[in-house]
Amino acid sequence: MICVKNLSHSIGKTSVLQDISLEIPKGKVTALVGPNGAGKSTLLSLIGRLMPLQTGRISIDGSDIAQTPTRELARRMAILSQTNSLGSRLRVRELVGFGRWPHHQGRPTHEDEQLVMQALDALDLTALGNRFLEELSGGQRQRAFIAMALAQGADWLLLDEPLAALDMAFARRIMAQLVALREAGRSIVVVVHDINHAAAWADHVIALKEGRIAAEGPPETVCTSQVLGDIFDMELRVTQIEGKPLVLHHL
């Protein structure tokens, strides 16, 4: 379980997160939703210790992230940011290979190589393994970064908008894969903008608005026209399909 207590964060003079307390269940797929600028990325980076905590505490499976060595945390959680730019010119295989770094610290074993192959395969990148990243399309590059996070093999997987830039086939495939990982005992936190992906695949939904938690619960309770309409300040129709909410946000 990830436990966030009284978390506030400001950048410059603007307050981005205000007194957030929440629990993210272990062994579940949790979707983080909300309008642009709501603070989703900030919250996720704070959990992933990419930014120093200002006030509040965060613990992951009982250990305080501010107290736990970062190397230890890397074996427990992998975080993928919304934007990634590399300083070096890498091939896809090399990038994904770095996902195993927390385990081998620069000396990959045969097992590490196997896991890299599996991650490449899971994202249909085997054929592109030898390409340089800058020779890929936006969506292919995004898949390479997801593969790296997968290869890390951590209990917790925090993904910030992994579906951005993916076509609908890959978007569905990634979500299905996250569910498969949950079946294998991992816990996943994922920021998604397409609310229907959250509704269809997530076990738990947390909605942020203007730095506060606006709604929290299973998709059936969060994905209603009332709740979502308030969060996004728009009129929405929600129907049901196969027992899952379907938000007609485009109409």
């Binding site: 190397r71 890397a74 730019s85 590399l86 070096s88």
Partner: protein, 313 residues
């Protein structure tokens, strides 16, 4: 890659041999005694600049900057001018070499840490801003030197001018043991850090996600860069573009992004260029001190080419 590495190593050994033994004459012991320290100095400075540049480029995640371009060479000239202004010509000339060297290294290491620390400490990835800051700092330091130079008398200015050009052969033999220990220590540390530098190059978020103590490594890397740049500048004078040429060639020759390969290759390229170049200019063409000018010119052209091609990564 390994074949290239082997070939270049042979070339390096050969040019060292040429430099040392070619045309020794009857007073060979005396001549060797003069040449050996120069050779060692060139090897040290080449390796130091190579490693400093590679590590610096990894920290600021681009391939067009060198620590020196960030206003460092101008700072060195400012220091020389200030010393002449304060101490006068005779005071400056009378400075004990080791005292001057020690003071320069300390001041420049601190200055470099402040400079690079404030620029890169917060993870600035805006290359354009970095280049611009470097240029502005350079102009600032230079105009301050000019201002000082106006105040001091013309003869003193000539002394400063002479100190403002790099010379790979005016290396003071007495400084070599200390320099050697410091440089070799910093270089060995960088080589040991190679795998971590590879991760550092992935950028802060990914590096932290992979469990690297990112901020601490950046600080350590900047200390290494500052020390290496300070020592090599104090030894031979200001050099701006040489490192750029070296890192470009190292990337080209290895085709790898792994520091365990890049760093040794850069060291090899840098030392070979210095020793072979010096042998050529000094022995064949009879020109004592033109190597630095030629290397800087070539490096400057390469810098322009990188900028025009937009090859910043």
């Amino acid at each position: 890659m390994d074949r290239r590495f082997a070939l270049l190593s042979i070339a390096l050994v050969a040019s060292c041999g040429f430099y040392l033994f070619w045309g020794l004459g009857p007073r060979w012991q005396f001549i060797l005694g003069l040449r050996a320290p120069k050779l060692i100095g060139m090897l040290l400075v080449g390796a130091a600049i190579a490693v400093a540049t590679m590590v610096f480029q990894t920290v600021c995640r681009n391939r067009i900057l060198t620590p020196q371009i960030m206003g460092f060479d101008a700072l060195y000239i400012l220091m020389q001018t200030a010393m002449v202004a304060v101490l006068g010509i005779s005071g400056y000339a009378g400075l004990s070499i080791s005292v001057k060297f020690g003071a320069e290294v300390v001041v420049m290491t601190v200055a470099a840490l402040l400079l690079f620390g404030t620029l890169l400490g917060r993870g600035t990835q805006d290359v354009a801003r970095l280049v611009l800051t470097g240029v502005i700092l350079g102009v600032l330091f230079r105009s301050f030197s000019t201002f000082l130079a106006r105040i001091i008398d013309p003869n003193a200015f000539a002394v400063v001018q002479a100190a403002s050009f790099a010379s790979f052969t005016n290396i003071e033999p007495n400084l070599l043991p200390v320099t050697g220990v410091v440089c070799l220590g910093a270089i060995a540390l960088s080589l040991w850090l190679s795998p971590r530098l590879d991760v550092l190059a992935l950028g802060r978020p990914i590096a932290i996600s992979l469990g690297l103590s990112h901020d601490r490594l950046v600080l350590l890397a900047l200390v290494i860069v500052a020390v290496l740049v300070a020592v090599s500048t104090a030894l031979v004078g200001p050099i701006a573009f040489f490192g750029l040429l070296v890192s470009g060639l190292a990337h080209e020759l290895t085709g790898s992004s792994r520091h365990a390969r890049l760093l040794p290759m850069a060291i090899l390229v840098a030392t070979l260029m210095l020793v072979a170049g010096q042998t050529l200019f000094e022995r064949v063409l009879g020109l004592q001190s033109t190597l630095s000018v030629v290397i800087e010119f070539a490096g400057g052209l390469f810098f322009l080419w990188l900028l025009l091609k937009g090859r910043t990564r």
